[in-house]
């Protein structure tokens, strides 16, 4: 079912946890709320669930105003980070709980409930464990029970709060792939909260990046990674370097040298340059480039990570290169230039910045 969040505001003791947030989620989408802790992502999820009530704004499920309904009436499925299974019930009873507590009119017959619960356990690959108690299951299995339990009520929307947060890396990866499969098969509109960007980018159709109670950017994983719209998103998603630079006459300067990148239509003044470690090219002979001393060199799988010192006042910069091109000893001086980068003006919280992709003109002035 389609979910629309309109101008939602939530304050905890006068402190705004969510500030005027709007979000449209089409039916059947798998969407991730991604952000650091305190960004309001869990609050937003709990508001959709009805576990919190908003200070202002509305939430629609389809055409229904859900914000007037209680949790029980919203018919949602919620999966908690720490499973929240009923430990005195068997796995089967846990899954069947949502159907068993219905009023006699809406409750399916006992045999039907049992059949549906068993079907769901089959879907989450736990057939044969229906008589176990939660204490007798591993973490990954418990979370699958929790998911089956949430799906048993045929929810309007499935909400997952850091569903894999308490599991170890191996299980997490496996469950991630498996959740995607389940979603593709059942087609529930699904919102999940995570602070793990890898999880969000790999799993979701769209990612909502949140920070300090507002939405920074909504987009497909590609858009989020390749076209971040704010310094926060640039810094939060993936690796990035940021340098304090100055803009003069459309040219970018690092301290007293131009670095060979142009941003023609931007006003002069201080700015911050962002680029990703792998979006760089090495150049010979430096006429307008970034140059630094190699302070550390690490081989990570298929790439080599170099740590460079550009000057005493700047933070170190990390770049990634193919290993065969980067067999430098420490303290060699190398020159490079970002191929994809983004400039954000100082002082403004969020601006639409220029983006340059590849081929900056070389103004070979010679040294």
């Amino acid at each position: 079912m389609e979910v629309r969040v309109q101008n939602i505001r939530k304050e905890f003791a006068r402190f705004p946890a969510l500030d005027n947030v709007s979000l449209d989620i089409p039916s059947g989408e798998l969407i991730a709320l991604l952000g650091p802790s305190g960004s309001g992502k869990t609050t937003l999820l709990r508001l959709v669930a009805g576990l919190e009530s908003p200070t202002g704004g509305t939430i629609f499920f389809g055409d229904d105003d859900a914000s007037k309904k209680t949790v029980q009436e919203r018919n949602i499925g919620f999966v908690f980070q720490h499973y929240a299974l009923f430990r005195h019930m068997t796995v089967l009873d846990n899954v069947a709980f949502g159907l068993k507590v219905r009023t006699a009119k809406r409750r399916p017959p006992a045999a039907e409930i049992r059949r549906r619960a068993l079907d769901l356990l089959d879907l989450v690959q736990l057939s044969g464990l229906e008589k176990r108690y939660p204490a007798q299951l591993s973490g990954g299995q418990r979370q699958r029970v929790a998911l089956a339990r949430a799906m048993a009520v045929e929810p309007n929307v499935l909400l997952l709060d850091e569903p894999f947060g308490a599991l170890d890396a191996q299980v997490r990866k496996e469950l991630r792939r498996w959740l995607r499969e389940i979603h593709d098969r059942t087609g529930h509109t699904t919102i999940f909260v995570t602070h793990d960007q890898e999880e969000a980018l790999e799993l979701a159709d769209r990612v909502v990046v949140m920070s300090k109670g507002t939405i920074e950017q909504v987009g497909s994983p590609d858009e989020i990674y390749d076209h971040p719209v704010s310094p926060f998103v640039y810094g939060f998603i993936g690796q990035s370097n940021c340098l304090d630079v100055t803009l003069a006459n459309g040219e970018i300067w690092l301290e007293d040298r131009p670095i060979g990148l142009r941003a023609a239509n931007e006003p002069d003044g201080p700015a911050t340059l962002y680029f990703r470690p792998h979006d760089v090219e090495l150049i010979d002979g430096c006429g307008g480039c970034l140059a630094g001393l190699v302070t550390a060199s690490r081989r990570v799988a298929g790439t080599r990570h170099l740590e460079l010192e550009l000057g005493r006042t700047h933070p170190r910069v990390e770049i990634e290169l193919p290993p065969e091109r980067a067999a430098f000893a420490d303290h060699t001086r190398i020159a490079f230039r970002p191929t994809r980068w983004k400039l954000f003006q100082k002082g403004e919280r969020r601006i639409t910045a220029r983006e340059e992709v590849v081929v900056p003109e070389l103004e070979a002035t010679g040294t």
Binding site: L51, V71, I76, R87, H88, V101
Partner: protein, 288 residues
């Protein structure tokens, strides 16, 4: 999970030494202590009762006054423990889940029955519940007599047993994750269903422990009861009092016989409760 399976399948054996040494010493001291404090007095009692001979013992134990006293003791202790179970769980709930002014004071007050000399409690309750007391004078027009009847005994036992239930249930209640209730709510359970199907079953083992303790305490309670009970033979005379009466008459065989029966009954009931507890703990996992 594997550890659990292994534990149930392997034969019984001494626990393997852990990082903290001194298993032998600790076990030895514990057993010696238990023997001196508990086992020797109890076996003395058993020895004295068995020296009576079976027919003599049966005759003394089945004496009508004795049977009545035992019935009253166990019956009132049972009713009081049930009442304590209900209100103790409620009180623990309020203390765990709500914040209100004076909460710490109430929390501390729960322990008062532990500390107060039971005779003081008995006298205070009698004063309140006597037909001319504050509460008794309100109940008297309705034809309800509390003091000097078995009902009075129940009131006294509720008083002394309350902290047992509260203090055993409270920590387990604190352990229950709020998320479990939220999970039940998202699945459409009403508040009543959440309480009856999710929360209370999880509290069963702890509740039973509290019940057992309150019950055991009630059976053995003497000080507070003798003031409020009226101590009419056959009506409101408790077994511990009857033992004292027999002792004062220098009728040691009768006293030991009553004590022996009490010991046996108490042991059986506590055993049953412990078995139920172990079963539910294994099943429900809380506090396991």
């Amino acid at each position: 999970m594997i550890a659990m399976a292994a534990r149930t399948s392997t034969r019984w054996r001494f626990r393997q030494p852990s990082v903290i040494p001194g298993f032998g010493l600790a076990l030895g001291v514990t057993l010696a202590w238990l023997t001196i404090i508990v086992l020797v007095p109890l076996s003395g009692l058993l020895w004295r009762s068995s020296s009576l001979g079976w027919s003599k013992f049966a005759e003394l134990a089945l004496d009508e006054r004795t049977v009545n006293a035992l019935t009253i003791s166990f019956g009132t202790a049972f009713i009081a423990a049930v009442v304590n179970l209900v209100f103790g769980v409620l009180l623990a709930w309020v203390l765990v889940r709500y914040r209100f002014p004076g909460k710490r004071v109430i929390d501390a007050m729960v322990d008062l029955p532990f500390a107060l000399p039971t005779a003081v409690a008995g006298i205070a309750l009698t004063t309140l519940y006597a037909p001319n007391g504050w509460i008794g004078s309100l109940l008297a027009p309705l034809g309800i007599k509390v003091a000097f009847t078995p009902a009075g005994i129940v009131v006294a036992l509720i008083f002394v047993g309350l902290p047992f239930v509260v203090r055993t249930v409270q920590p387990i209640m604190e352990e229950i994750d709020k998320e479990v209730e939220e999970a039940a709510a998202t699945l459409g359970a009403t508040r009543f269903q959440t309480i009856s199907r999710v929360l209370l079953p999880g509290l069963l083992p702890a509740g039973l422990t509290g019940f057992a303790l309150a019950f055991a305490r009630g059976v053995g309670e003497y000080g507070s009861v003798i003031f409020i009970a009226g101590n009419l033979p056959y009506v409101s005379e408790i077994a511990p009092l009857l033992i004292v009466i027999r002792l004062e008459e220098f009728n040691y065989p009768a006293a030991t016989a009553i004590a022996g029966v009490m010991l046996l009954l108490s042991f059986l009931m506590l055993l049953v409760i412990n078995v139920i507890q172990a079963w539910s703990r294994r099943r429900y996992g809380y506090g396991a």
